[in-house]
């Protein structure tokens, strides 16, 4: 492998990895406030991209992206209010099945609205062949967009959870829902909010990635599986861990192309998921002691 190719793969890996990390962070946000793994997380990413693509017929790109994010957030909130909010202490099995059902409904709705065709947003800057030379490698400016946007999202999120009152209340719900309620926090609204937030972040990722990865009605499930892999790898609930794990998985995937057929690429991340689940279910960076308190 030439050094040139090496760096190309590296950047491709990082780009995809960041994408997985964002999906993983979406998982984490909802998991942290509710203990639920939202199997429809990948569908938020798809929805964000699809809505923005449709809006582009009427408004300029920045507004279309904003619209995609906001509408997906509303969808997230609606889903929580309609299907989750009023359930009284549901079992894990029940929640898994409900969110799987939701992911199917969203996907089918997307199929009926947008059809089977593969779509994408235009490049935010330049076009497919525009490149920026960065030392030994030439990369698409869209890659910088992905890195920039996702970096900012991660940064804002950690500030949000550490500093703002709302963020602190959400963390309180995560730590001990009952105690939080006793302190006067409206835990139900926090859950709705966490669904909105994770839907919005997913949608944003869906928009910035769309020019590179394209968007199709069924592109959600593979993303969800990889996002989940990353979430586990980084330690469920740990956003910084997710970023590191995402980049790691992205790079492994990128380099695997050179010795595994493309069609088996998905199988690689799933194999990693299975291995991690069996060997270190608390993730690469999580602590085993703390993980024993969670339910595996």
């Amino acid at each position: 492998m030439t050094a040139d190719l090496f760096f190309q793969y590296l950047f491709a890996g990082i780009t995809y990895g960041i994408m997985y990390a964002i999906v993983a962070i979406g998982f984490n946000i909802i998991y942290n406030t509710t203990g639920i793994i939202n199997f429809a997380q990948g569908e938020f990413v798809m929805l964000g991209g699809m809505i923005a693509i449709s809006l582009l017929h009427f408004v300029p790109l920045p507004l279309a992206v904003a619209g995609g994010v906001v509408i997906t957030m509303l969808v997230g909130a609606l889903i929580e209010i309609l299907f989750i909010r009023w359930l009284d202490n549901p079992s894990v099995l029940r929640m898994i099945i409900i969110t799987i059902g939701l992911s199917i409904l969203i996907r089918e709705a997307a199929l009926h609205i947008w059809g089977e065709s593969i779509r994408s947003l235009p490049y935010f800057y330049g076009n497919e062949i525009t490149t920026i030379t960065l030392g030994p490698v030439r990369i698409s400016p869209q890659v910088l967009w992905v890195l920039g946007v996702c970096g900012i999202v991660v940064l804002l999120l950690s500030v949000f959870f550490k500093v703002t009152p709302l963020g602190r209340e959400m963390r309180a719900c995560a730590a001990n829902r009952r105690a939080a309620i006793l302190c006067g926090i409206n835990a139900r609204n926090m859950v709705t909010f966490s669904f909105m937030l994770s839907a919005g972040i997913g949608a944003l990722a869906g928009c910035v990635m769309s020019p590179i990865t394209y968007t199709q009605y069924d592109s959600g499930t593979p993303l969800a599986i990889k996002g989940f892999t990353v979430a586990i790898l980084g330690g469920l609930g740990n956003s910084m861990g997710a970023v590191a794990a995402g980049i790691l998985l992205g790079i492994i995937e990128a380099y695997s192309i050179s010795f595994v057929p493309l069609a088996f690429q998905d199988a690689i991340s799933i194999t990693i998921l299975l291995i991690i689940l069996f060997v270190r279910p608390h993730g690469l960076f999580g602590s085993g002691e703390a993980a024993r308190l969670k339910e595996f």
Binding site: I37, F39, F83, L87, P90, S91, V92, L93, R94, I96, I97, I98, I100, G101, L102, S103, I104, L105, R107, E108, A109, H112, T221, P222, I225, F228, I232, P261, A263, F264, D266, A267, I270, T271, L273, L274, L277, F278, P281, E295, F296
Partner: protein
Amino acid sequence: MRYTKSRAILCLVALVIVTQLLTRITGTSYYLTQLTMSAYYALVVIGLTVLMGYAGQISIGHAGFFAIGGYLSAALTTHNLIPLAGSPLVQFLGRLGVLVRGQDIYGEQLLTVTPWAACLAAILVAALIAFLLGIPVLKLKGHYLAMATLGFGTIIYRIALASDYFGEADGISEVPGFTLLPGVAGLPPLVVNGDFDSRVQNYYIAWGVLIIGMVLLLNLIDSRVGRALRSIHGSEEAAEAAGVDTARCKLQVFVLSAVYAALAGVLLTHYNGGLGPSEASVMKSVRYVALVAVGGMANLWGALVMGAGLTFLSLRGVFGSFDDAVFGAILILVMLFAPDGILSLRLNGLRTCLKRESTDR
């Protein structure tokens, strides 16, 4: 207790016969095709019910086991071994008597594995994979188990889609019929295939297999091992304290349900004369879960009725292009409003009565 159970089984047998006669009288025997397929899908569903409903272990990967059964038997019975005829392995298989010679439609010589041997091999492989996968996977709970099985299903799907051997996106076609019993004493042979003439025969084979499968599972649920399984669902800790080897029990039932799925895959593939990668898709696995849920989770009869009924409607195209959406919606609605299954809404009282009778001996 045998009494209620055998009565219910007899009712089912009668219903199966009456249905066939009805289609004959009304000249609607084309329904038999979908009814046959429904029976095989229901076989997967009742197997999964024991795993999910009774033992409480979710699997979103059972289409994977179905596909292992279907694909292996299809590949073994269709791929021509003539080019490899000289290899020691093929010669060894030939001496074992598991190979059969034939001719394809262009008159070319064929050497393939016999359906019986292929069927056994497919089921053994499915069982072995379930066993090896089950050891680590069943240690997981909740989300982790769901994701791990979903991941397994996706891998099988990807392999089916990407392997030349399994026909990639086209799948495998022209799978020969499966002669279960050769013709003896003037009786015609018992063959699983899609021939027009053997439609009635195949209908009875499918439902016969399903009913036998059902009886075995009903027996299991009422047995020592069945109680142990249900106790795991109730409280794993208490089950362990009562001396139940929970890990072993879960593994056994996982393998059992995989065998049911693989058997259904084998038979349906021979019946349809082929299969494609969509049989291995995640959506199929989710569909099986939906059917278990709508049947009432821990309710074999509900699973059988819903599994065969809804699959039949789906195969008849009643749901049109909303087919997948319907199953998604069913899944959500059942879990939101009737997590014990829709039959439980009305039949709860009845079921307690039956249970009382059934435990009274």
